[in-house]
Subunit: 563 residues, 2 copies
């Protein structure tokens, strides 16, 4: 009984998901996975939680919910799939539909035939030009073996002064995993901002402020030049600006797609460096598919190709390829760049275009920042969250949103991601019927508050400065009044120290308008933004000519307060 | 300075939100709220959490996040709105644009002029034909004064054997609020099912099973006839089928819109009994608006009018009316009937049409039930959740979804609600870019797994029985094999006790096909559904002709709880 030969290269997420789906659709097919490593079907994304101790058992990273290890025996028994470990595919003979592979231990070569070939070769971590990366105490967090090494070092008390190099998703998850008050943790980022390209710099600064207050130190715009060590063990990280003591270094400067095999076989590599595929995940050879971290994605908003190595895409694409190699016609049209992260008690989420990206692409945009509660403020589980939304000005089309805070942001971003998929606008947002009960939401959902505020801005009802603009005005020595309308208690606890700041509680404002100068620009400020907005409306209503409020209030203020 | 006169009747959610928004848009307007009661701007939805002790301070139910009570002084100072308490509007003179109101204490009448009149008169609790409702120990949970009374009784130890009459949202929240292991709590529901009209009976039964296991007793299809008491205090609840001891009864059989004032003024009352409005929230008199619990809504899927008394609609509509009474043209097009609830550690959420509703409306539908994890199973915060999705068969259009479980369901339902707003289909669902990281999601989102399973069903790849169908087959004495493919450990802990049940672990199935009879219908079953699906695919692939799996596995099994 010899069915169609489906040969899959790579055995982590893309490959196994393809195999599993293909098997369910075609019981006759001969499905084989070649994997050069020793582990398959493992949760790379779970490694940080193993390091942090939240996952106790290493095996859980490659076990089913019912406790069975996903090893070759599992794939044989439960999926009818042959997995060959330690077997590296080294060339593809497209004309004869054959793959040559080499046993990584013996060097022995074997030829595998295919009807359909699937490349799930993934990505490999970038090795930056830093001297002495081979010192002991230098780690990555890309492979299961990396996680094991770090864990052993942690357990042996060898991870005390940690430097994380890079603040992409993996760097941030490494940070979250290793941070504890007994350790000194420093992150070094070559670019000027945390999570570059993922969060706008203003949002990143707010995130960093929060992590900093918990005890992290960040060095931005610093380039690591070399490591120093003693007796083969790392002791210092030397950047172009400073030196940092370290007994552990985690290198997380990004990954690049594994395309050598494809490239050598003459398959088209896209402008991003990843394998070019159509919406069926087919390469330019219709019998060869590529997916997951080795394949290129399309950004659905811009239409541009992007490299977006995410497990969720690998899995969803695996299902599509599983369909298509068994005769189906499923599509994966593209992505929005949705991402979520939990780091040191802060939830971070984003989708679509950031402000920086949208401007760079030439969009005429408006943005807003809003601080709000994730559920009714009187509910004991409520937390503050802060969102920044980006829309196209003339159409009101939502281009992107970013959120962070201790409260729920991830699922709210999903709602906006869903809207963006449909080309949704601010007007649509206000018509959404989102569930409300006190432990889940505010009567008007935070996304809708954010959209309303942006609509208010576009309508000229809300005139605002961003915190950065206010800070710049203060720095420039401009003459204006920063009217803090919070309660005296709130004001006394923490406020911007400047002669131009005046406290006047919102509830007193209507009665004390004579205490507000009419000849100056006035910028109102509160905790989260809504009282300052109200105050601005009161002042404008009373004939004040030049009034604005500061977006997101003190919750959005990431500058030094104690100058 | 006399601006436009905006007169608002009703001071809880609809009225105050309208006033607040109108004020921000029109600083000159004279805005007045008449409220016959003594409390305004309070969080009725928060009362259950006050009773349960999660909210300690009664004042929090009508205080801002910055600790200011929302009383008439607040509305005057912070919103420039006049609130007159204890003032009941008793008639509207539309020709002369006047409202006559009566001071509820003195009986004195006052005439108020208006340019725009806003009816936010809300709803009142239904009083069912039950004898002796005036006994001590009989409560409602509709007004702040109700919450105070129950709380006092609880604190005085007078609430031990509680009967909640009605299992709509408010009855369920009352249940959640009063339940603790020291109390006996019984719910009596006239209809056959919990949360009737909100959850389909199959989902309701699963919810009830969960609550029952925690110690609640439910009596469904029972009608309360009368209460009995001693010395003026309730002691028993007598239904048409049984008698229940009780020292406290909470009556929650629904609310009806307060339309007397509108009706007497000749405003159109819709078929639902609520005030008829257009998408600008205007009544048939263009200068009179109605919103919140007193106004009719439109179901966006069916186009039919519905009565849907929810705070979220009251607030969102208030913003629309605030716009429109100050010259704007904002719309509120309608609702999907999204609702969420937290009850006894179970989250419940729904949107759109249920199966029963969709069938009654004549839709040709397919449904599926799926049990899944709300995040990666290896993450310590993961929980199981169970969803039922309803789609139109020929178009794949999503009509509705219902979810429940200890895990996150509310925000996922919001994603589907967002899709339904755009007429989204199963195909769209699979293209959504939803955020994934282990503490938030599974690599393929539960909504997408649910959609995939439904697509599998429509494609004939997944052939299923619902648990109800399996139970019926067992009851009918049909000859078939129920093949339980869980591990022996899982099987031994809890399984369906029947001779037709056979255990055969999924991992052994391919090797032991000879142990499975070829002459019988086979129904596979597991914990959540996916292993049984896999097993069914294996059997079909091996030539078994009549194979199905049971949807949602043992997680979806609500039968035989005690045997
Ligand atoms: C710490 C960490 C956290 C992460 N968190 C998230 C997250 O929260 N959310 C998210 O969406 N993603 C996350 N990711 C990314 C996610 O792990 C990857 O996107 C996913 O693993 C990609 O799967 P893949 O199968 O395409 O490629 P890979 O995982 O790279 O697997 C490719 C496999 O192919 C093998 N291979 C390559 N070439 C050959 C060859 N020639 N012959 C044989 N075998 C070959 C490799 O040995 C490798 O095992 C995280 C990653 C890391 C490291
Ligand atoms: C326990 C409980 C839990 C709830 N939970 C939720 C939830 O989780 N989610 C949700 O969306 N909704 C929930 N609700 C529903 C929500 O509280 C109502 O939808 C909301 O209060 C409606 O606001 P409203 O202003 O339209 O009407 P109402 O709250 O009914 O207020 C109307 C006001 O008008 C006054 N009035 C009436 N007639 C006159 C007159 N002639 N003259 C002067 N004044 C008059 C009344 O005295 C009343 O104060 C819950 C309700 C309760 C009771
Ligand atoms: C696990 C793995 C082998 C995929 O195997 P799989 O059998 O397709 O498992 P999934 O959980 O993805 O899907 C389960 C199947 O059951 C279906 N399903 C899910 N819940 C179901 C339920 N309750 N009832 C019925 N069917 C259900 C799904 O739709 C899917 O079927 P389909 O693809 O035919 O539609 C592959 O994803 C893998 O190796 N993952 C680990 C590595 C990884 O993803 N790493 C990166 C992330 S950390
Ligand atoms: C509180 C109440 C008076 C409404 O007052 P409100 O001033 O409109 O308050 P909201 O919180 O709804 O809205 C705040 C305003 O600030 C805006 N806003 C919210 N967060 C903001 C921020 N961070 N920055 C700037 N603006 C913000 C909102 O868009 C809204 O303005 P808009 O309506 O002009 O667009 C009214 O809803 C009420 O009485 N509620 C209590 C009763 C109730 O709802 N009960 C049932 C539910 S339990
Ligand atoms: Ca182990
Ligand atoms: Ca108090």
């Amino acid at each position: 009984m010899s069915g169609k030969k489906i040969l899959i290269i790579g055995g982590v997420a893309a490959g196994p998901k393809t195999a599993a789906r293909a098997r369910r659709l075609d019981p006759e097919a001969q499905i084989t996975i070649l994997e050069k490593g020793k582990h398959i079907s493992y949760a790379g994304c779970g490694m940080p939680f193993y390091l942090s101790g939240q996952i106790h058992d290493f095996d859980h990273l490659y076990s089913t919910a019912y406790g069975v290890k996903r090893d070759p025996a599992f794939f044989k028994a439960e999926r009818g799939v042959d997995v060959i470990l330690g077997m590296e595919a080294i060339s593809i003979d497209r004309a004869n539909k054959k793959v040559v592979a080499r046993n990584v231990d013996t060097g022995e070569e074997t030829v595998f035939e295919y009807d359909k070939l699937v490349l799930g070769t993934g990505a490999y971590p970038i090795t930056p030009p830093i001297e002495n990366l081979d010192l002991k105490g230098v780690y990555r967090l890309n492979h299961l073996t990396d996680a094991e090494k770090i864990k052993q070092a942690m357990d042996a008390g060898e991870v005390n002064d940690v430097v994380v190099i890079g603040t992409g998703f993996i760097g941030m998850e490494a940070l979250d995993a290793v941070f504890n008050p007994m350790r000194t943790v420093t992150v070094v980022e070559f670019r000027d901002t945390m999570l570059p390209g993922i969060l706008d710099p203003d949002m990143a600064k707010l995130l960093y402020k929060n992590l900093y207050e918990q005890g992290i130190e960040g060095r931005f715009g610093e380039k690591v030049l070399r490591l120093e060590g003693e007796e083969g063990k790392v002791t210092r990280v030397i950047t172009d600006k400073s030196a940092i003591d370290a007994d552990a270094v985690i290198l997380a400067v990004g990954v690049r797609p594994n395309v050598k095999l494809a490239q050598e076989a003459g398959l088209t590599i896209g402008e991003t460096g990843a394998i070019s595929v159509n919406e069926y995940m087919q390469t330019n050879d219709p019998d060869i598919y590529a997916l997951g971290d080795c394949a290129e994605n399309t950004n659905l908003i811009t239409g541009k190709k992007v490299f977006a190595p995410m497990a969720t895409y690998a899995n969803r694409q695996g299902r599509v390829v599983g369909d298509n190699v068994t005769g189906g016609k499923s599509t994966f049209k593209g992505i929005l760049g949705t991402g979520v992260l939990h780091c040191m008690h802060v939830n971070v989420a984003r989708t679509g275009l950031g402000e920086v990206q949208a401007r760079a692409l030439g969009y005429d945009i408006e943005t807003v920042r809003v601080s709000t509660f994730d559920m009714t403020h009187y509910h004991p589980s409520s937390n503050k969250v802060l969102f920044k939304m980006i829309v196209e000005k003339n159409t009101g089309k939502i281009l992107g949103i970013q959120g962070l805070g201790q409260g729920e942001v991830a699922k709210r971003i999903d709602v906006v991601a869903t809207m963006i998929q449909y080309g949704g606008t601010l007007d649509d947002l206000l018509e959404l019927d989102l569930g409300y009960a006190p432990p889940f939401n505010t009567p008007i959902d935070p996304m809708v508050h954010t959209g309303n505020t942006l609509k208010n801005k576009l309508a000229g009802v809300a005139k605002t400065y961003t915190p950065e603009e206010v800070e710049a005005k203060l720095e420039r020595g401009e003459d204006f009044l920063l009217l803090d309308v919070r309660t005296p208690q709130q004001f006394n606890m923490r406020h911007i120290e400047d002669d131009r700041v005046q406290q006047l509680t919102l509830g007193d404002l209507r009665d004390k308008l004579d205490q507000v100068p009419r000849d100056k620009e006035i910028v109102t400020v509160c905790v989260m933004g809504s009282r300052a907005y109200e105050a601005a409306r009161i002042l404008e209503g009373a004939g004040f000519k030049d009034v604005k409020f500061m977006e997101a209030g003190m919750e959005g203020w990431s500058f030094d307060m104690d100058e």
